[in-house]
């Protein structure tokens, strides 16, 4: 609306070339306060009977941003509390560099699911293949193991023009897509997976955003709702808001190890009545930030619920390889769905997401992820394809990381031994960390932490004394943000506050 303000006087519709509108009915009272303080001058526009704004110094006020008004969906995106902490972290790091004395020497950042940043070494095989693909001269001679060279050669043959610098097909390099589908079939005990239902993307979140774009009609009335877990990692919630969807929260039950209960789904669905039209159900399994792993039974219940309530299932399964307890098993939604048989198996629409960013690979920076679409209407698939094609393609190195992830070195391959050693090391240290988290956090007064069954995070509950809550309030902060900020200041440890993920009112958590 602001742009009209430049040319208008009380309630006179204008046709002004200078301000460019024919529909102005703005009075000076309705001008933003910043402009009310300025002087008015006759417009220089010849067919304009309006007013031109000049600043007190006589300079034209065009430094008001053209973009004052922006997409309301973007504006509605929540500002994460984490950004406050991140800013402070940068400052503290700078202070440390300048020699300011603190009780710690460096900031330990455990707020992100970023293995390499946390010191996990990249897998040699992966990086050797990447290096060979990037600079094929490395394959002359025997600097690299023969299986590395073979893999790189095969991948380069699959790249157009034999270069990782060319575009790939929209859905990814066909050979790699094929390999992804074979991986899924192996994982799911032979349930078929069709390459043409798979799209490789710059990360799983990108894929999710694309699928949500197809699902969410921003103009729909009532608006489109998506059932979303609480707690839930923040990116998806931000995406949903940016796309104009309504986030319909369902709460995971913390007391039962963050269990996903169908009664709660029902309650959430009922709560959406009259508010929005719930079209999809988003599940994260294994969980993030809560480290639960759904049982087969639980997955089946959710599928049945989605079928009955006619919800499109969005299964975020990026932590599928991160399962730590002996008796816990990851069961993919795809597999559970197939095993449930007809009529569900050919009816429930499902999008399942996976990535090279987590687990043993931890290659977040390469941005390689994929979505598998199940039971989609072919007419819709056509448009899905068009939408993905506007992204050109996923970064080729990310695609290569996926290829290696789907097909690691096998027994007998020259790189196998080193690969096993490295992955075993990662597994052992993660398992130890998980155990330590359980023991240590639960031994602390004021903490209670559900068993971490999978994923990359612990999401312990924090019992804060009323005094702390009060201090936080005085500081205008969420109590858990306040806690995290203090922890950062005093111990140099960066966590992220539960507020960013959603939590039951009156409870506080940290990730």
């Amino acid at each position: 609306m602001l742009k009209m303000a430049y040319s208008v006087r009380a309630n006179i519709p204008l046709r002004c070339k200078w301000a460019g509108t024919t529909r102005c009915f703005l009075t000076s009272e309705r001008l933003p306060t910043a402009l009310q303080r300025t002087n008015f001058q006759r417009s220089s526009c010849s067919d304009c009977i309006g007013l031109r704004l000049v600043s007190n110094k006589g300079r034209k006020i065009t430094d008001m941003s053209v973009l004052q008004e922006i997409s309301s969906n973007v504006r509605n995106m929540k500002q994460l509390e984490n950004s406050v902490l991140a800013r402070r972290t940068t400052q503290i790091k700078e202070e440390l560099r300048q020699g300011v004395r603190k009780s710690y020497k460096e900031v330990i950042d455990v707020s992100w699911g970023d293995p390499h940043k946390a010191g996990v070494k990249p897998l040699s095989f992966v990086r050797q293949v990447l290096a060979a693909c990037l600079y094929p001269q490395l394959m002359d001679g025997d600097k690299l193991m023969v299986d590395v060279r073979q893999r790189a050669q095969r991948l380069l043959r699959a790249c157009t023009g034999g270069s990782v610098g060319s575009y790939s097909a929209t859905a990814g390099i066909p050979e790699i897509v094929q390999r992804v589908s074979e991986f899924i079939m192996r994982r799911d005990g032979g349930v078929p997976s069709h390459p043409e239902n798979i799209y490789i993307c710059p990360g799983s979140q990108w894929a999710l955003t694309n699928i949500l774009t197809v699902l969410v009609n921003p103009e729909a009335s009532p608006r489109i709702g998506v059932l979303t877990p609480v707690p839930c990692h923040s990116t998806t919630v931000l995406s949903l808001t940016a796309l104009g969807a309504v986030v319909v929260p369902y709460y995971l039950r913390e007391e039962s190890g963050w269990a996903l209960e169908v009664e709660e789904l029902q309650r959430a669905l009922d709560s959406a009545k009259g508010v929005c039209n719930p079209l999809a159900l988003y599940v994260i399994n294994p969980g993030n930030p809560a480290g639960y792993v759904q049982s087969r039974k639980s997955v089946q219940e959710v599928i049945r619920f989605a079928a009955e309530k006619r919800l499109f299932l969005l299964a975020d399964e990026v932590y599928q390889e991160c399962v730590y307890r002996e008796k816990t098993e990851f069961v993919s939604y795809k597999r559970a769905l197939a095993e449930m048989g007809l009529p569900l198996s050919d009816r429930v629409e499902l999008a399942s997401f996976h990535t090279a960013s987590k687990s043993l690979m931890g290659e977040c920076g390469l941005r390689g992820g994929y979505v598998e679409l199940v039971n989609l209407d072919p007419a819709v698939m056509k448009h899905v394809n068009s939408l993905f094609s506007t992204n050109a393609c996923a970064p080729v190195l990310g695609q290569i990381a996926l290829d290696v992830m789907m097909n690691p070195p096998q027994p007998g391959d020259p790189s196998y031994h080193l690969y096993m050693k490295e992955t075993q090391h990662i597994r052992t240290s993660v398992a130890e960390n998980v155990k330590r988290v359980d023991e240590v956090i639960n031994s602390l007064p004021g903490f209670s932490c559900q068993l971490v069954e999978g994923g990359a995070f612990a999401f312990p509950r924090l019992f804060l004394p009323p005094k702390a809550t009060k201090r936080a309030e005085e500081a205008g902060m969420q109590p858990d943000t306040f806690y995290c900020l203090r922890l950062l200041e005093e111990a140099g440890v960066l966590l992220s506050p539960g507020t960013d993920y959603g939590q039951k009112e009156g409870t506080y958590h940290i990730r």
């Binding site: 024919t22 034209k60 008004e69 032979g190 078929p192 006619r310 769905l337 068009s386 190195l397």
Partner: protein, 562 residues
């Protein structure tokens, strides 16, 4: 292994498949694609009947269920089976339906099919498919810049730093990049705005390029290819309802990314036509006409310029850029300058001027007020590294509050691919005189750029010898966009097929010669005129053959239909 299993099992599913599933489509109108009336049979239950079928949307097989003897799900009492999908052509986001991307459209899909048919030994009137549809230099055999790839290989596998065959400057560059990565690994997330040191290097590059005009690294945002930046900016500025819906001015012909993004965002596309007679130049009067007309039904907010032009290959003069800036200032439009071809300028007397530079040389009246976003990428110029999805945008004079909103929007992407950021860093900070890799780098760059210049000229020359093809000089970028005369009878036939005449023409050319071009209708063109876009990227000898084939095809096509 799994594939065999599926085959073994598939006979079991056949009965399930043939039983089909009747969808009554109680809701929704049921468009023509549903065959109009009554039930539709779905075959999603099973693996494909024919293995070569490539129809999308196929789904789960229930075979594992029967095999495992798991209890079958009982049909719910209210007859769930008779219902349609949740996500149908009627319930999906309608704006996505309008998304079209000609550069990867039906003609390219057909080209891929033809390639497969050829590899399966099918007889065709040509030996190979030549994809001149997309600006993908490496796909056409252009070699990567050695230095760039050396540094990236070192960054990927730092153990190579002890390898004496790598030059020292590549090693020091790699160390510098790795030091600014989390955990010294390209596998860590970066900040969503991009790695700070890369942004600083980009800022310094822009300052050098623009003769010292200052550039603040905080205004630099690294992106997943330039297209990510363009789409993000459009997402930010599209708002409003009805007659106040945001309108965005784009050139016709345009690069289809713009029309696709605007369709997805349901923004109003405002077309301004480039003047083909004057070498695709941009007339301010045409901008004014388009804007004035658009103001009657939408709220024009942004003006997009592609310079050097895609698909039209013109390079804007300095005066023209000044005029555009003045126009944007007067009309209060946000300027979006797509400058990804900034190093691809071939014609004598033509020079690339960045919008940023011109803006700042026009004095504070403009440089302090006009809002501008300028885009660049690693995919074009002399490096042509499309597969890395590297790029940046520089944002000038944007309101701080809006910047905060932009940061939020970018955070959903987590971060741009780190190897692409590293590559961007190398592009803006290549080997310097005195460094060991300098000479070889300059040689590679010059070879590539002069070959492109030669091919630009060759393309223009050969195409202009064909009667019925008229081609403007390719001053810059990577494409020629000639005007073609299509005989009336061919137009008639295309119409009967429900095809655009130039699509009909390009399809025919693909089937007969194996040459894949993009019809002008995918970019937009003046009504009644027809064009195609062809890249100038194939190696010179191949390009000559290609051009001769285009020539021969055009002649026989014209003969056949006149």
């Amino acid at each position: 292994m799994s594939a065999t299993r599926v085959q073994l099992l598939s006979p079991r599913t056949l009965p399930l498949l043939s039983s089909g599933r009747v969808a009554l489509f109680l809701q929704g109108g049921g468009g023509p694609h549903r065959g109009g009336v009554g039930p539709r049979f779905r075959s999603l239950t099973s693996p494909p009947l024919s293995c070569s079928s490539s129809s999308p949307g196929r789904a789960l097989s229930s075979l594992s269920t029967t095999r495992r003897g798991l209890p079958k799900e009982k049909m719910s009492e209210n007859g769930m089976m008779s219902r349609a999908k949740v996500l149908t052509i009627d319930t999906m986001n309608p704006t996505v339906k309008k998304v079209e991307y000609a550069v990867r459209g039906p003609i390219v899909q057909r080209a891929v099919e033809l390639e497969r048919e050829l590899s399966e030994g099918m007889k065709k009137p040509f030996a190979e498919v030549i994809k001149a549809n997309i600006g993908d230099a490496h796909a056409m055999g252009q070699q990567p810049i050695t230095f760039f790839r050396q540094v990236l290989a070192l960054c990927s596998y730092p153990e190579l730093l002890s390898d004496s065959t790598f030059p020292e400057d590549a090693k020091s560059r790699a160390c510098r990049i790795l030091n600014s990565c989390g955990g010294n690994s390209m596998g860590a997330y970066s900040a969503s705005q991009g790695i700070e040191s890369v942004r600083q290097d980009v800022a310094r590059y822009i300052e050098r390029r623009d003769g010292g005009v200052p550039c603040d690294p905080d205004n630099i945002y690294l992106t997943t290819g330039a297209s990510d930046g363009i789409v993000t900016m459009l997402k930010l500025l599209v708002c409003g309802e009805g007659a106040m819906r945001a309108g965005v001015m784009i050139s016709i012909p345009q690069y289809p990314l713009y029309s696709a993004a605007l369709a997805e965002l349901s923004a109003v596309q405002i077309n301004y036509y480039l003047n083909e007679e004057k070498c695709w130049s941009l007339d301010i009067s045409e901008l004014q006409r388009a804007l004035d007309e658009a103001r009657l039904y939408c709220n024009p907010r942004a003006l997009c310029i592609i310079n050097p032009g895609n698909p039209t290959g013109q390079v804007q003069s300095r005066e023209c850029i000044e005029d555009v800036i003045r126009f944007a200032a007067k009309e209060r439009l946000f300027l979006m300058a797509d400058e990804v071809y900034q190093d691809n300028v071939y014609a004598e007397g033509c020079q690339f001027h960045s919008f940023k530079k011109v803006l700042f040389e026009m004095g504070p009246e403009y440089s302090e007020t006009v809002e501008l976003a300028s885009f660049h990428s690693t995919s074009k110029c002399y490096m042509g590294e499309c597969g890395f999805r590297g790029g940046y945008m520089e944002i000038i004079n944007m309101d701080d509050d809006v910047k905060a909103q932009l940061t939020k929007l970018l955070s959903v992407r987590l971060c741009p691919p780190v190897p692409g950021q590293a590559l961007m860093d190398l592009v803006v900070n290549p080997p310097q005189p005195g460094e060991p890799s300098y000479e070889h780098f300059i040689k590679e760059r010059t070879t590539t750029l002069s070959a492109l210049a030669e091919k630009a000229k060759l393309t223009e020359q050969v195409l202009n010898t064909v009667e019925g093809i008229r081609c403007n000089p390719v001053q810059g970028a990577m494409y020629s966009f000639p005007c073609i005369t299509i005989p009336e009878r061919a137009i008639q036939e295309a119409k009967e097929l429900g095809q655009q005449p130039d699509m009909f023409y390009c399809m025919k050319m693909l089937e007969e010669t194996g040459i894949c071009l993009v019809p002008g209708s995918g970019f937009g063109q003046k009504e009644g005129t027809y064009h195609f876009r062809m890249t100038i990227l194939p190696p010179t000898d191949k390009l000559k053959i290609l051009l001769n084939n285009v020539k021969a095809f055009h002649q026989s096509f014209t003969q056949q239909y006149s």
